[in-house]
C-alpha cells in the first residue's frame, strides 16, 4: 500500500511537471490516468520495493551528490588519458564483491560503476554478488577497489528482512518457469 501511494504521488508530480496547467479538466484527466496506471501496475504485480525503491528515501539524496562528484573526477581523469598523445591505457577486466543484499541495491552499484567513466560493468556472476568490471586504466580500477562506492551503496540500501524474503520468493518463482 505504501508503494502504491508513493507511486501515485510520483505520477502526480510527473503529470504536473509535464502539463504545467491547472484547469479542472486537465487535473481530472491526470487523476484518472494515475488511478488507471496504479490499477494496472497492481494487477501486473510490479508495485514493490524493486520497481519503486522508496526505502532508499532520504539516504539517496546523500548518495547522488557524492556520485556526481565521483563522475566529475572520473571524467577529468579519462579526458586526460584520451587527450594525452601516447594514451597510456591498460584495458583489463577485474572482479569486485558487491555487499548489497537486494537486487535493486546491486543494480544501483553496478550502474554507478558504469556511470563513472573509466570503469564499465560487464557482468554479475556467482550468486549475483560478484561484479565483473572492465577498466581502462589502473587508476580507474583503484577507484573501484577502494570499495567506497560499494560501502555507500550498501549504506543507502536500507533493506528490511521482509524485502529480502520477498526478493528470494520472486527469484524462486522465476526459476520455476521454463
Amino acid at each position: 500500500m505504501l508503494h502504491a501511494m508513493s507511486l501515485g504521488a510520483a505520477l502526480a508530480v510527473l503529470w504536473i511537471l509535464l502539463s504545467g496547467m491547472f484547469e479542472p479538466l486537465l487535473i481530472g484527466l491526470g487523476v484518472a490516468s494515475i488511478v488507471l496506471t496504479i490499477w494496472i501496475a497492481r494487477h501486473m504485480d510490479v508495485v514493490d520495493h524493486e520497481a519503486h525503491p522508496v526505502h532508499f528515501g532520504i539516504r539517496a539524496l546523500l548518495y547522488y551528490p557524492w556520485l556526481t562528484k565521483e563522475i566529475i573526477i572520473a571524467n577529468i581523469d579519462v579526458a586526460k588519458v584520451i587527450l594525452s598523445p601516447k594514451m597510456k591505457i591498460q584495458p583489463h577486466v577485474f572482479t569486485v564483491k558487491a555487499s548489497q543484499l537486494s537486487d535493486i541495491g546491486r543494480t544501483t552499484y553496478a550502474n554507478s560503476i558504469t556511470l563513472t567513466p573509466g570503469t564499465v560493468t560487464i557482468a554479475m556472476t556467482e550468486g549475483r554478488d560478484v561484479v565483473e568490471v572492465h577498466a581502462l586504466t589502473g587508476a580507474a580500477r583503484a577507484g573501484v577497489e577502494s570499495n567506497e562506492m560499494n560501502r555507500r551503496c550498501t549504506a543507502m540500501e536500507g533493506m528490511t528482512q521482509k524485502d529480502v524474503e520477498s526478493d528470494a520468493k520472486a527469484r524462486a518463482e522465476l526459476e520455476k518457469k521454463p
Binding site: 510527473l14 511537471l17 509535464l18 504545467g20 556526481t68 563522475i71 566529475i72 571524467n75 579519462v78 579526458a79 584520451i82 587527450l83 594514451m87 591505457i89 591498460q90 584495458p91 583489463h92 577486466v93 577485474f94 572482479t95 553496478a110 550502474n111 558504469t114 556511470l115 563513472t116 567513466p117 573509466g118 570503469t119 564499465v120 560493468t121 560487464i122 557482468a123 572492465h134 581502462l136 589502473g138 580500477r141 583503484a142 577497489e145
Partner: protein, 139 residues
C-alpha cells in the same frame, strides 16, 4: 531567481553560468567523441561514450537550464537528465553483453587486489587489443 539577473559586464549572471556550462560540456562531448575514435577496441571505446553520456550531457542540460524562462522548462530538463542517468548505464551494459556474446574478448583478466599491472603483460594486452580492434571494425 533575482540574483541571476545581476549584470556582470555585457551579460547577466545567468548567461555567464550558462556559457560556462555549455563550453565545458562541449569540451567533454568532443573529448568523449575523440575517445571513441582513438581508443583501440570496443570495450575501451565504451569509456569514451561514457564521458558523453555523463558529464557532457549533464553540463549541456544545466547550461540550458540557466537559459530557461519558466520553472517548468527547468523541471523538464531535470527529468531528461534523470532519465538519461538511469538509461545510459543500461544501454552500456546491453552493448557490453552483446559484444561478449559476439565473441569479443574483453581483455586480460586480473584477479586479486593488486593495482599494478606488469609492463610486459600490458604490452601483450595492447597487441591483442589492436588485433581485436581491427577485426571488430572489419566485421
Amino acid at each position: 531567481m533575482a540574483f541571476l539577473d545581476i549584470m556582470i559586464g555585457p551579460l547577466a549572471l545567468a548567461d555567464w553560468l550558462s556559457w560556462f556550462c555549455l563550453i565545458i560540456g562541449a569540451f567533454f562531448l568532443i573529448t568523449g567523441t575523440l575517445g571513441i575514435v582513438r581508443l583501440p577496441d570496443v570495450f575501451s571505446r565504451m569509456h569514451g561514450a561514457g564521458m558523453v553520456d555523463t558529464l557532457g550531457i549533464m553540463l549541456m542540460l544545466i547550461g540550458l537550464m540557466f537559459q530557461a524562462e519558466e520553472w517548468i522548462v527547468v523541471a523538464k530538463l531535470g527529468l531528461i537528465l534523470m532519465f538519461i542517468f538511469f538509461t545510459s548505464p543500461t544501454t552500456t551494459f546491453a552493448l557490453a553483453r552483446a559484444a561478449i556474446n559476439g565473441g569479443i574478448n574483453p581483455g586480460p583478466k586480473k584477479a586479486g587486489r593488486s593495482v599494478d599491472i606488469q609492463d610486459k603483460k600490458s604490452k601483450d594486452a595492447k597487441v591483442e587489443h589492436k588485433k581485436q580492434g581491427t577485426t571488430s571494425s572489419n566485421t
